[in-house]
């Protein structure tokens, strides 16, 4: 085997991608919710100053 070891997993992506999907979904949803709430915080701060 001469290819880089981690690249070898790309070849059989069908084994690990299904396990990655929930992680990506939850991570994406977490980031989205977090950004949305931070946006609301900023709006609250500005309203407070105003």
């Amino acid at each position: 085997m001469s290819a880089l070891p981690l690249l070898a997993h790309v070849g059989h992506w069908y084994l690990w991608v299904p396990y990655l999907v929930p992680v990506v979904i939850v991570l994406g949803a977490s980031l989205r919710a977090f950004r949305q709430q931070r946006h609301e915080d900023r709006a609250d701060d500005q309203a407070g100053r105003g």
């Binding site: 085997m1 290819a3 880089l4 070891p5 981690l6 070898a8 997993h9 084994l15 690990w16 299904p18 396990y19 990655l20 999907v21 929930p22 992680v23 979904i25 939850v26 991570l27 977490s30 980031l31 919710a33 977090f34 709430q37 931070r38 915080d41």
Partner: protein, 458 residues
Amino acid sequence: MILLAHALVGRKDLPVPAWLFAWGASLVLVISFALLSVAWTQARLQREEWRPLPRWISRALLNPAVEALCGLIGVGLLFVVLYAGFRGISDPTQNFSIVFVFYTFWLGLVLLSVLFGDIFRAFNPWRALGRVASGGFRLVAAQPAPVPLRYPDWLGRWPAVLGVLLFVWLELIAGGGASPSPHDVAVGTAIYSAITFLGMALFGVEEWIGRGETFNAYFGMFARLSVFEARGRELGTRKFLTGAPQWASVPGAAALVLASIAVTSFDGAQEGALSGAIRWTFERCSDLGFSLPNSFRVANTIWLLIVFAGVSLLYWLGIKGMHTVRGSPRSKELSRSFAHTLIPIALAYLVAHYFSAFLYQEQAQFTYILSDPLGHGSDLFGTAGGGINYGIVGSNTVWYVQVAALVIGHVVALTLAHDRALAVYDNVRNASRSQYFMLAVMVGFTCFGLFLLSQANA
């Protein structure tokens, strides 16, 4: 051939593909997170509320005679491990030292610690011998044994982290591609005993045992999940899960629990998900002129450390994410204060990975190895003719237990993290927001664990 490492079994006829279990487990975690955010709005697990049991129970269980007996049993077992390792048969499947150290001791005591509390402290052979030596000194010199050094606070649980990594290195790597021999285990035990005696001589018996000794720290960590705890000579109970939050206030605590998860992950990945990468590194080491056993050792050591770094990085990303929430303490403080939330994950990984192996090996432990610990043909208790019934549990049952362990472990971890967040942040909203990232970490650990198992079982 690492005969004893896994004893995992191939699954047959699952009703749905294995990866769908990862989706289901993730869904359970998301629902648990949502329920916790809505219904769990006050920290409830931060105070232990320890209550003593009726005094006669403490008197019966925690008296000098029982303490001496437990110490004697511990020392006796240490002696048998050493004797069987040096004098017994070299076949690892027939020798007491291998099955006892890697299964009955390393896994069985985790189970007992979770159920009954920190019982290893009573059976700790090094502590028993240290106390006898210290008592003997006091008797002869008419003064307490001198303690030359003070245990540095910064050292915390770091010796235990190193100890856990070395223990698993001995189990999975030291043999250079073969199972460790009983002789290797006996030598390792003797070296570890010498280090522990030195530690006790330098820092004092209770100080070294309580803070630096690997197995006391390791089993003590799992004992924090138990409802039982002894304080002095009194035995008491606390509310479920309230022991864990008090655990992680020491340097190296986070590293210890991360090391526990990492070594189990590595064991699962060694012949599954990481086998290709390890083989590639092995070949590069051979090209560099290492002998085959040394190439195996170097390649596996590198990947053990990479897995440790990867697991730590995942936790650190969760902590960094939490740190972005308004009113967060420093990342280092957050890392320490949430470390205990990983203990149920470490337990879940152990159960998921070793459930079947433990069932099989304990049959050997309590039948032919009990009667013939050296493998020389003796039959001390009339059980030498016994064997392992591999049909004791079906392959699908093993898989369901693995999935259940991982899901329950991560839900408990999520609960602990949510409760700690309520104590750390000044309002429920920020506490819940901080846990978005821990949810992602928990889902990551769950899916990673199931992926490793699916590969190892395949």
